[in-house]
Amino acid sequence: MTTSRATTQELVVETAGLSKRFGDRTVVRKVDLEVPRGVAFGYLGPNGAGKTTLIRMLLGLTQANEGSMNLLGLPVPARRAEALARVGAIVEEPSFHGHLTGRENLKIVAAVRERAAFDRIDGVLERLGLATRADDRVKTYSLGMRQRLGIARCLLADPELLILDEPMNGLDPAGIQDFRAFVREFVAEGRTIVLSSHLLDEVEKTCSHVAIVDRGRIVVQGAIEKLRDGGRPTLLIQVDDSARARALLSAHAAVDRVVDDGEALRVVLADSAAVGDLNRRLVEAHLNVTRLEPAQASLEQRFLEVTTRLENAA
């Protein structure tokens, strides 16, 4: 596992060797997760990677088979109630009593929270843009409104940590933009956001930190910026004969692999010092090189790289 350890920052979520099994199937494997305070943290992985199960364990909705967890510095489940008093969470999808209004649904949860939660109801409805529909029954709400009401419900706790499971599922582009804006606001207020998603692009646009999870195991985690830099150098090359160039480049010792993405050859290098030599060989082979530039590293590349490495190792 590649890990960029957050040794200097305070951790709001910390797990060690956390595992969960359902019968013979292990869905979460020895997860060591470290979420620093005050960041938007993406827990990224394909469907079935164990993201929701990890969140459910953190929130005490299901028990871990192995390992330990701390939320906001408090051991869970030993001091679960204390920790969760300052955590807002949406697991899977926000659920409500459809026969009650938005405001009444918030009252239900405020009753379970501290007394001050009641005083926050009007404020969070206003903030999430739901004030005008607050007295309508929730069964008349759109999915986007339900998501916002779910976030409003989280804010009743004035949370230090928000845990959101696939929060962008089903949202239209405007809803996604609104959501990103909320996340930025919350982080600016000093809150920590942990969001799970299978949407790589969304995590990259919304979060500053990420853990990439595959088959229940974290394969890499840390600041997205650093993870991008940690990826292998990649060149984008356009020539007049892609097939011949691909064969030539693939044979070079400094080239890890070559992928033709239809527009250009994406050349992953094992040694970045070989760029000049590659260019010379292409020219000597009478190939017309019209483009040769370093590819902008993306989380997607890094994601594919680490998951490919896993597949190769398996």
Partner: protein, 266 residues
């Protein structure tokens, strides 16, 4: 906050549960029909029949009719209790909100326990209203029959409320164990309306019948109502035995419901 205090339902929790129940118009309509509505309709029909032919049809009032209506209110009240308890016990689960309540860190025991006073505060006014109408009717429409005494009216009223309360608590426990409204209503109705009279009438069971809560409840009926309000033959039981049976059944149901509610994967 101590562990015990954390596990106790607060007035805010109870109010929230009453809100969930109170905003269900369908539930209110059904419960009202099964309690107040039934008493009003039945009394009206009986009294109109009596007025049209007083030789053939007796009046709606009197001691015997009070007994019949006490049985009716307790039986339909048990059905209403099952519906309310099933809604209170599994409503959060059905809607998916239970998970959102659990992630607040609030004691699940407190969340469970708040449904006890909330459901009773919702249900018992309907039952009390139905009985109050019947009490007035039993005194006003006596015809040539003897009117029930004040003592009998009070004791019968308390018995009716006790009977409905017992079935509410039983159904609440079952509801939290099975997590399904329909199964809970089915189980309680089958037990109250079919199995209880059946078991009570099997003389060969002897003393074992005393373990049936409906039989124990019958043992608390005022003697003046005779057989009018009983669902089977009288089985002689001491007050201590009656209290023991009712407490054990109630405790067993509530403990099972609480354990299931506090340990389930939410």
């Amino acid at each position: 906050m101590s562990t015990l205090a954390h596990a106790l339902p607060t007035p805010r929790l109870v109010s929230a549960d009453i809100l969930k129940l109170g905003k269900r118009r369908g539930l209110a309509a059904v419960v009202a029909l099964m309690t107040v509505g039934t008493v009003v309709i039945a009394n009206t029909v009986i009294e109109l029949m009596h007025l049209s032919d007083s030789v053939k049809h007796g009046p709606a009032g009197g001691v015997t009719m009070l007994g019949h209506f006490a049985w009716t209110i307790s039986a339909l009240g048990a059905a209403a209790a099952a519906i309310v308890a099933a809604t209170a016990g599994s409503g959060d689960l059905d809607s998916g909100v239970y998970r959102d309540l659990a992630v607040t860190g609030r004691s699940r025991l407190a969340i469970f326990a708040s449904r006890i006073p909330a459901g009773l505060m919702y249900l018992l006014p309907f039952v009390a209203g139905a009985y109050a109408i019947e009490a007035v009717s039993s005194v006003v429409f006596t015809g040539s029959h003897p009117a029930p005494s004040s003592y009998l009216l009070v004791v019968t009223g308390l018995w009716t409320l006790l009977s409905v309360t017992f079935y509410y608590l039983l159904a609440l426990g079952i509801s939290c164990v099975v997590g399904s409204r329909s199964y809970t209503i089915g189980i309680v109705l089958a037990w109250r309306l079919a199995l209880t009279p059946l078991l009570a009438s099997i003389a060969a069971l002897g003393v074992v019948r005393e373990l049936v809560p409906g039989v124990a409840l019958d043992g608390l009926l005022p003697a003046a109502l005779h057989d009018a309000a009983r669902q089977g033959p009288r089985v002689g039981m001491s007050l201590a035995a009656i209290a023991f049976v009712l407490v054990v059944w109630t405790a067993a149901a509530l403990v099972a419901g609480a354990v299931r509610d506090t340990t389930r994967d939410a």
